[in-house]
């Protein structure tokens, strides 16, 4: 891969939240890259810091509790963390847009869906009223909603339709990067299949890069090119999608796969859940954050800070027992 194709580079991002008297380390030294036209999946459990990473990119962390403590986010040659708010506004919704999980609360209930798309367009493009409306209608049709429904209000749409409207809105300015935070979690499977299919098609057409946040490994397998697995605010495994699914190394990633009911429907096979739960992000242990739940952990896992190391061909793993885990598998 050539250097020139890089669209977004996150270096050593650390995000903290301050609540009452605690400091919550939501994201710890995360580095990742998104190439043009590529979809990177961020996988992890609730509270792992996936959404926080996406919000840091757009600088929409809740204030004043959340702040990026260190690191840089390079997009188009500029560090998004240090440019002015004015410049950031030009990027937000224009070059980078975000789709949120809940389609029910992301639309304004008293403005027609067409108007809402038009407004998103007008914010960033100098078009006449007529052109704006035409583009908005085109966007609606692109996501499979008849243009005649331009003047209808969100409550007249079903959940799947609303999520399409949101996608249309996010794509209206032809962003280079789309941050999709669990875009189909609130939808039914058959509708999810429709939306995923549509997103894949649009991505193909518009050559948009995507950061897809999800907890569903099935969706990852279908849509992503690369995967970063997040645990307790850290990337613990980072590789191409086939590599992760065929050859997972980190005990946590293995645990995730073990937790899924097997695809062949074998009921006699007992699920192999990961014991315990994620550590409190306000009191993260030293060393490997997963050691507490890991079947392979030893004293040295707990005492040493563990680096994300290349185990070959760009497959990064944060585990000092890689070889041991591979054997045990």
């Amino acid at each position: 891969m050539k250097e020139a194709e890089k669209l977004l580079t996150i270096n050593d991002l650390t995000v903290e939240f301050t609540s009452d008297r605690e400091i919550i380390q939501a994201v710890n030294h995360v580095s990742l890259e998104i190439y043009k036209g590529e979809t990177l999946g961020l996988v992890g459990e609730t509270g792992a810091g996936k959404t926080t990473i996406a919000k840091s990119i757009l600088r929409i962390l809740p204030k004043p509790q959340g702040r990026t403590k260190s690191g840089s986010i390079i997009f188009d040659g500029a560090d998004l963390l240090s440019i002015s708010e004015h410049e950031m506004r030009k990027i937000r919704g224009n070059k980078i847009s975000m789709i949120f999980q809940d389609p029910m609360s992301a639309l304004n209930p008293v403005v027609s869906v067409g108007k809402q798309i038009s407004e998103a367009i007008m914010l960033h493009q100098k078009l006449s009223k007529k052109e704006t409306k035409e583009l908005a209608i085109k966007m609606l049709e692109m996501v499979g909603i008849p243009g005649a429904r331009y003047d209808e209000y969100p409550h007249q749409f079903s959940g799947g339709m609303k999520q399409r409207v949101i996608i249309a809105m996010a794509l209206a300015c032809r962003p280079e990067l789309l941050l999709a935070d669990e875009p189909t979690t609130a939808l039914d499977v058959t509708i999810q299949a429709q939306v995923l299919e549509m997103m894949a098609k649009l991505k193909e057409e518009l050559k948009t890069s995507m950061l897809l946040i999800t907890h569903d490994l099935g969706i990852v397998a279908e849509t992503c090119d690369k995967v970063a697995v997040i645990y307790a605010g850290e990337i613990i495994e980072y590789a191409g999608v086939e590599e992760i699914f065929d050859n997972p190394v980190h005990p946590y990633t293995l645990g995730l796969f073990g937790s899924l009911p097997s695809a062949d429907g074998d009921k006699e096979k007992r699920l192999k859940p990961i014991n315990g739960m994620m550590p409190n992000p306000a009191r993260l242990p030293g060393g490997c954050k997963f050691a507490e739940r890991c079947p392979h952990a030893s004293e040295e896992c707990r005492s040493n800070e563990i680096e994300l190391a290349d185990t070959g061909e760009g497959h990064l793993v944060r585990c000092m027992k890689c070889s041991l885990v591979k054997e045990a598998r």
């Binding site: 459990e45 609730t46 079903s158 959940g159 799947g160 339709m161 039914d188 499977v189 058959t190 509708i191 999810q192 299949a193 429709q194 995923l196 299919e197 907890h215 569903d216 490994l217 099935g218 969706i219 990852v220 397998a221 279908e222 999608v241 086939e242 699914f245 065929d246 645990g255 995730l256 796969f257 073990g258 937790s259 899924l260 009911p261 097997s262 695809a263 429907g265 009921k267 007992r270 699920l271 192999k272 859940p273 990961i274 014991n275 739960m277």
Partner: protein, 316 residues
């Protein structure tokens, strides 16, 4: 094995300003004691209403419910109290299903108090036993739900349901709100409890991979009606109803080498208010013909495999 539950032509309609909402429409099935019956379908298909109507948390509009051979459709207050000890429910949302102002031990012991147990020491020891059973550490005895994570809260919900020693439990999406690793812990716990206490589960969910794993038999529902019923293996190997096929093919498979052979459905689920007679899936079905506007019958196509589709022979 004995039949623990039999439902005949069960209907539950809600009256809304726009007309009658057919939440559950003419559902009939039987289930054996000690087994798990999965009920799948998308939101609004009436699967949760079905569970709640069987438990008498909602009054049925029409039809019959037999529990252990006895007709319990119309019950008086006393009978209902007895019945509720035998039939329990586990909810989807571990937080909203727990009273935020009651501690773990209060929530679990509540069932004993309400059902006439006076001996406080007994209640306390039983509550602790239940906590051990579901894997809740003693340290959480006086914790409140908001202090615990989703997995632990769901364990409280399970302990509460077990307190009265039920025979039959409706599990309404018990793991949908949980992360996969915690989901697996809870599923294992539920399967252990089933073996140990010979429980019968009615497992209501939209998650098809989970339902396949837990169920012996599966009912597929669409807009209040049962469109297909078969044993778990049979349903996944040989789905017959066009909706079941679409549903199964829509599951994202966590395997990069899996060949997608997806039946994409057009359109969305239609309104369950005043539905027209005939197949409710016809509007989205690729095989639909005018014939499908006639009321459909549930037909047993092979041993234990029921389908409600007049085109089933052609589809096959």
């Amino acid at each position: 094995m004995a039949t623990i539950l039999e439902v005949q032509n069960l209907k539950k309609y809600f009256s809304t300003p726009r007309g009658l909402l057919h939440a559950v429409d003419d559902v009939s099935f039987k289930m054996e004691a000690g087994t798990t019956l999965g009920v799948v379908g998308e939101s609004g298909c009436g699967k949760s209403t079905l569970g709640r109507t069987i438990l008498h948390l909602l009054d049925s509009t029409d039809g019959k419910i037999f529990f252990e051979g006895e007709d319990v459709t119309q019950v008086n207050r006393r009978k209902l109290r007895q019945l509720r000890k035998d039939m329990q429910i586990i909810f989807q949302d571990p937080f909203s299903s727990l009273n935020p102002r009651m501690s773990v031990s209060d929530t679990i012991s509540e069932a004993f108090y309400i059902n006439g147990e006076k001996n406080k020491d007994y209640i306390r020891s039983e509550t602790r036993k239940l906590m051990d059973t579901v894997g809740l550490a003693r340290i959480f005895e006086y914790s409140y739900p908001h202090e615990l994570d989703g997995g632990r809260c769901q364990r409280i919900g399970i302990a509460r349901a077990l307190a009265l020693n039920p025979k039959f439990i409706v599990c309404d999406e018990p793991v949908s709100a949980l992360d996969v690793s915690i989901q697996a812990q809870i599923l294992n716990l539920m399967s252990d409890l089933q073996k140990e206490k010979k429980l019968s589960y009615m497992f209501v969910t939209h998650d098809l991979s989970v339902v396949r794993y837990v169920s012996d038999e599966i009912i597929v529902m669409y807009l209040g009606q049962m469109v297909e019923k078969a044993s778990s293996d049979e349903l996944f190997k040989n789905p017959l109803h066009p909706y079941t096929k679409a549903l199964l093919s829509a599951i994202p498979v966590p395997d990069v080498h899996h060949k997608k052979n997806r039946v994409l459905l057009q359109g969305e689920i239609s309104s369950p208010i005043n539905p027209a007679p005939g197949c409710r899936f016809a509007a989205r079905c690729i095989n639909a013909t005018p014939e499908c506007k006639k009321p459909q019958k549930l037909v047993e196509v092979s041993q234990g495999h029921f389908v409600s589709c007049s085109k089933v022979q052609e589809v096959k």
